[in-house]
Amino acid sequence: MPRAKVQRKSTSIDMTAMCDVSFLLLTFFILTATARQPDPLDVTIPSSTFKLKVPDLDMGILSIGKGKVFYEIVGKDIKMATLDKMGEKYGIKFTPEERERFGVVGAFGVPIQSLKQFIMMSGDERTKSGIDAGIPTDSTNNQLAEWVMQSRTAVAELHNAPMRVSIKGDAKEEYPAVKKVVDILQKQKINKFSLITSAEGDAQ
């Protein structure tokens, strides 16, 4: 009597469904990942062992590096509202197109007088032109204080929440430059702010 033959089964698995699912997830992650705006100011942030994540709403980020100060307002609606207020303050009229374009600008560091020109440039031109000399912080022409103030009002009006101010300083930046910015904040009674650092392993 011949031995019963074991039926050989194919070892290949149908990958179609798995492929479908994985690509669905892939699409999801690609779409949800926010495209990072290139930083016009190259700062190397120091590291710390703190664990608190930076929230991504209602925030203003001050970048300090090479003696220049850049400001980034988080949120398109806040950016546009702040621009309106600043335009009013300095008597500059911004067109709807300029507002729209400013809504997607990342960090910026131009005096308000050349902001119109800055808005209409493309990303490449902005870095090439050298227009971004930092926001003026002198006591006579303290536009930075104005920006912070107006964005705080905008956040309070639109989101009914206090704005967090974060400082993103270059590791090599000298302390007085940071102190100058902190003093501006303290003049507006912002005594609490966050310093943005990168994560570091647990030190013992």
Partner: protein, 178 residues
């Protein structure tokens, strides 16, 4: 790939037919790639978030009389100087000679002093005063705040960049870190 031919080889004596191409495509490599990309996007979206270090500075315009006097014996003052050096002393300025250290050693000093204060006063917390001078870099400041967090100093540190006394300045000049 790892596909076995199970179609049975009984084709003898039959007419040779035109071979039907297998319509199945091997998706293994594609799935591999997709999962690699998924992993990449998952990790980069959640891990690239920077960390916030909350700092509170004393209110400058606060002129209320309820300011607490700090006990000098429980106070450790850390002066941040240039070249990544710090000078620290316990107690009142000018009375005790400051020690100049690098950032690698400051943690040990903080822990020592914390223990000394706790032993001497029956478990009271040490009070830290941080004085960044003009020679310090931003990194130094972040580092010292980080050291305080690591050494678990619970009381909020006083960050004082206004009142750097002459005695402190003199000492730092002598030590060459101002």
């Amino acid at each position: 790939m790892a596909e076995l031919d199970t179609s049975g080889g009984g084709k003898k004596g039959k007419k040779v037919r035109s071979k039907k191409a297998n319509t199945k495509v091997d998706l293994t490599a594609m799935v591999d790639l997709a999962f690699l990309l998924i992993t990449f996007f998952m990790l980069t979206t959640s891990l690239s978030k920077p960390i916030a270090m909350d700092i509170a500075k004393p209110d400058k315009d606060d002129n209320s009389q309820e300011k607490n006097e700090l006990r000098a014996s429980e106070t450790m003052t850390v002066l941040l100087g240039k070249n990544d050096k710090v000078a620290w002393y316990m107690g009142e300025a000018g009375k005790s000679k400051p020690n100049v250290e690098s950032f690698a050693d400051i943690r040990k000093s903080i822990l020592d002093n914390k223990k000394k204060v706790a032993d001497a006063t029956g478990g009271r917390q040490i009070v830290m005063v941080i004085k960044p001078t003009s020679g310090a870099t931003y990194k130094n400041f972040v580092d010292i705040m980080d050291e305080l967090a690591i050494t678990k100093i619970k009381t909020a540190p006083a960050i004082d960049d206004e009142n750097i006394t002459d005695a402190e300045k003199d000492f730092m000049k002598q030590a060459g870190i101002l």
